[in-house]
Each structure stands twice: as structure tokens, then as C-alpha cells.
Symmetry: C2
Subunit: 338 residues, 2 copies
Amino acid sequence: MKKTTLKDIAKALNVSVSTVSKALHDIPEISEETRILIQNYAKEKNYRPNYNALSLKNKRTKSIGVIIPNMLNYFYMQVLQGIEKEAASHGYRIMTCISNESYQKEVEIIDMLSTGSIDGFLLAISKETEENGEFSHFTDSVKFGFPIVMFDRVSEHVECDKIITDDLNASADAVSNLVKQGCKRIAFVSPLKNLSIGRLRFEGYKKGLEQNNIAFDSSLVINTNEVNYKNYDTMIRPLFDHKIDGIISTNESSALSAMEIAKENGYNIPEDLAVISFANGLLARNSNPRLTCVSQHGEIMGAVAAKKLIEKLETKDDAKSYSTEYIETDIVVRDSTR
Amino acid sequence: MKKTTLKDIAKALNVSVSTVSKALHDIPEISEETRILIQNYAKEKNYRPNYNALSLKNKRTKSIGVIIPNMLNYFYMQVLQGIEKEAASHGYRIMTCISNESYQKEVEIIDMLSTGSIDGFLLAISKETEENGEFSHFTDSVKFGFPIVMFDRVSEHVECDKIITDDLNASADAVSNLVKQGCKRIAFVSPLKNLSIGRLRFEGYKKGLEQNNIAFDSSLVINTNEVNYKNYDTMIRPLFDHKIDGIISTNESSALSAMEIAKENGYNIPEDLAVISFANGLLARNSNPRLTCVSQHGEIMGAVAAKKLIEKLETKDDAKSYSTEYIETDIVVRDSTR
DNA sequence: TATCTTTTAAGGTGGTTTTTTTCATGAAAA
DNA sequence: TTTTCATGAAAAAAACCACCTTAAAAGATA
């Protein structure tokens, strides 16, 4: 069996293709009799217009390219879920690609999709790209008429819409939260030094200290780049020589590592040491004790990003105004804080 | 700026469209001089043939529709990653959709993509569909020329290729593994009763007991449907009235719950109670103690499924032979077993 | 004139849209 | 009463989207 086309219907009913097309669109110049006849036959044969033909004619695909650095990441999956739902509700499909944190792959993906397959991009920049600072594939894409909305990992060097977590204030709030519990020596643990989010969270940490009149002490800071998973332990262990009573970590795994080491050293959590982590994912919910987290609302971020892009696509105003939207964060209190 | 088309190049170089097309395809009837001229210009303008036009002409899109029941699932993300990589390596794109475990959504997705947007489907059946046993949307899809390769959650009522975990033997192996450690009263905990994988794992559990000459005791079995996350605790607690010394669980969360309850009741893990869980995900790696798991190799499953579908698509033999492939499992030993 | 190279033109993919054609009806003119 | 012509509805044809393929035509050379 094969798909029914307009031509098939036309031939079967002995009318012209254009008559069929018009009848199916309820255009009044087709007589009711003919229209009903055609519509019934089309329904019976389960006719669906060919998407490629439509895309060709309309110069729009109603598809969105999504580039995600890494699929094995709970936050990005939440974002993706948000994107998918929002897109589907507007009749858009998404093409999901993984850059695998690689600049080269990112370039290839954009190249591959910039062939009339999609109308625009939703993406988070790969680590490699953020580190080497080469963004021309993005700017070119925008120039060639493929709007981009960046989420989470963005760059100030690309003119486009951006949806990000308000990491700076989230981080400062986390500090304040710990201070309220009586913490005075708050450590900062981050393996995301080179990422924009890593920088912002570090800035927020410093801002939070300042707001609470606590002196910044660099010996309480571990700010580095992604390391081998196994190394968290040796990386974090020295912190405990400095009588810390609070930790803010930028990812779940390092928070868990820290908690393990703390327990080993006889700390009670949260009594002796309070821990707040970024990235409210699976681990935080199931750790022991369960982690208090900065929740970043990935699904909302995805939905907002998709909505923004679709808005851009549906209104063809060439007014090139770009905005950056902040997604609010919450602190989800669990058992690692008092 | 807009995308360059063949026509644009032809006009710019004052030749005909077909000359350009031939030149770009290195067809020998075009003079070298002309060819070089055209190829250089095309490269300069970053010409890419329009995918929609190609798809229309070739009646194939080199795109694969992927339907995943649930994105916030580590295993499926591994599968998706495997699919994406394998597809990309063959020049295929994937369109990812989430059925959200809903039959209706599944139907809509298939309907939406069966319009010349994709060449075939890779999918895992949603819970609702598996429960209500309505598979006509799948069989219709196959009939209309969209091959399906199912992974993980499959149905014997649909004739198509299938890639599944060898859940039955994996489960039996897990039993044997526990028995070797001296376990005699092995409990089975599953919230996946209505899914094919749930049934197979239960069968495997019984087979494993039989192989090891242990009598089946239904009071050691909790086999139910997905329940509210919070209910694991009350569901599992009664098990501990039966002097169990081993647990096989079909998902991570219930294993974690069981371990918590065990610790509460004074059990030492793994000395007094050994635990093996299916679904080697994030939680297993980060729990305390870390979970020994049946590893299902999601990425391999995804890659194998994608490869199989692409093979089917590229060889247009109408020999309708379908096969079911089993992905081997490993037991990844961590700290919850001896 | 025959042969070879290069270019042009046509046709097809599935759909939408604009333009033309067809045909019936009715009014005006013969 | 018959012929002519305008009117308008209904349907068909044709153009277009971007690309590919192939047959035909043109041009150049021997």
C-alpha cells in the first residue's frame, strides 16, 4: 500500500488536482456536491498532505533543530521534554541532535540541518565551543535566516535570543540560605570553571558572601574544569582541612562526593555541614541524605525557549531585536540543609 | 541573506540550471573549465541542495522517527544516544518525539510523521498501549510502507523487527548470582507487572529459582504496576517480615527504597542482604551502598536498532522477514552484593 | 556530413495558487 | 423567436517551489 496523493484522488474521482486541493481547503469556488464527494473520499483513503511538498512550497518546515551537548544529563532532558511539549502543541516537530560537547559535531549538525530541514535552532553551546570561543557557525546560521534561541549555555558573542537560569542570583541566594542556618565558612565546589554558568555561579557565590559580610577565602574554593569522575574525591578532600560548615556545589556528583567524605570525617549532615547543590536531578532526590538543591526548572526553560523561537518564526518582522530571558530558580529544601 | 539555490548559481554564472546540477555531480559531459567554475562558486556561496526537494524527488527523507515513552529515564537516554550516533554516522537525522506513555499521543505522533517526514520508526511502546493492547497504528504504519523497529518494549502482536534485552535470562542469572553468594530467600520486587519486560523478568526470576532448586514463594514477590513513587516504601516494607536475604528489583528506585528499609531494620548490606537491580542508571552509581546491577547496554541497543532499521531502508527487498535480536546483559558488581 | 561535446529544454516529485477555460444562464439585440 | 453577448460559477490548466534526470538541440570539430 502507498500513501494517497492529490493526484490519486483526482484520478479516482475524475477531477483535476487543483479541484481536489481546493475542495479539501473548503474554498467556496468548489460546489458543495463536489466538495463533499472529495472530502469523503480523502477521509476514506486517510489522505495526508506530503510534508516535504508543503515545506518546499511554503519555504517553512514547521520543524525545529535542537542541539544538546549531552543526553545523559537530567537537566537537559527536562529542557528537551519542555521543548518537545511546547513545540508539539504548536504543531512543530523537533529534530534532536547531540553535539557531544564537540565543536566539530556542532558545525556538522548545523550544516546538515541548514538545508531546508528546519526553520530555526534551539541549542546549548558545547563545552569545546565555549572554550575555544569560535562562534561563527552560529552567527552564519542567523545570517542565513535560521534564527537561534540559546538556552542554558549561551554566549555574549552571538546576537540571538537567550534563555538562561539566573545563576548569579541563584548562587547568591544559596549563600544567604546557608548563612541563615548559621554557616560561616562556606565552600564553593565547581568543575565548570570554563562555562558561562560556572562563571556566573562563582560570581554569585562571591556576591552572596559580600551581601552577608563574609570575607572571600580562596582556600575554600575549588573551581576547575570537568575532571574525571573518579577525581572528585581527591579534589574535594583537602577542603575539609579548613573547618568548613557549608558547601555550595555546582553539580550533583561533586556534592555527593563531598557528603561521603564529610560522613567519613565524622561530620553530621546537616548539623555540622550544610550542603546545597545546583542541578536538581535524579541524584539529589535519591541521595543519603537527600540533597537540598537549586532547582533550575528545566522543563520551563525548554518551553520558554521553544515558545520564543516559534514566536520569532511565525512573525516575519525583520526587526532584529534580541532579548535574554531569565528563568527563576527555587531552592528545594531536602535533608542536606537545616 | 538567503540560501543559494541551483537557480541562483545558474543565473550568476549565466548557464543553465541543469548544467550547474551536472557540474556539481561531476558528470563527465560537463567541461572541466565549466565544472571548476561552478564548483568553486557553489563552495563560495555555501550551496547545499534543499533537503525537501531531494526528499520529494527521491521519495526518501533519510530521517528516522523515534518515539520514546519517557525522556526522564536514563536507560532510554542511553538508547537515544546510541540511535543518534548510529543514525548520524549513516547520514540520517532523527526526529524525536515523546509519547509520554500515552496511546493517544503515540497515534498522533505516527500520524504526524507518516507524511513523508520520515522513512521509518524506532520506538518503544508506551505503557498505556501495552496495557490496552491496541496496536493497529503500528501495523497500519508498516502496511503503509513505514518500517518499524521496536526496542525494549515490544509486542508480539506486531510483525516487525525487535531489539530487546534478554530479560528472562538476565533475571535468571541474577538469581544464580545471589544464590552463589549464599542467598536462600530471594525476594522479587517489580512495579512493571503489565509490561513485557516486567513479565519476562518475573519469568526469569522463577526460572532462576528453579535452576537453583529453590521453591517459589509468592510471599516474597511484589509484582505490581507503577505506583506513586512515595508508595514504594509501604509496598516493600512487609517483605522484611519474611527473613529475606536477597532482593532482585526491576528498577533502581525500588531497590533504593528496599535498601533504606533494610538499613533501618538493622540489616547490613551486603552481608545480611544482597541486592541486585535492573536498570543500571545514575542512581545505582551514586547510591549508598552503590547498587549491583543488571546492565542493559542501552547505547548498544539503540545503535543496533538504528542499524537494523537503516539496513531495512537501504535495501528495498520486499522480503518481509522480521527478526528479534537480543542484547546481552552484564551484571555490574558494586557494593550491594558480596 | 558525421561525430563529439556542451547546453538547453522538458518532465516529474506533491502541493498551493493564480490564471484560463468551459459552460450554463439570462438579457439585449436582431 | 432567434441570435449575440455578457455574466458568473465551476472546473481545469498552468505556474511555481528546488531539485534531478534525460532526451533533444545546438555548437564545434574533423
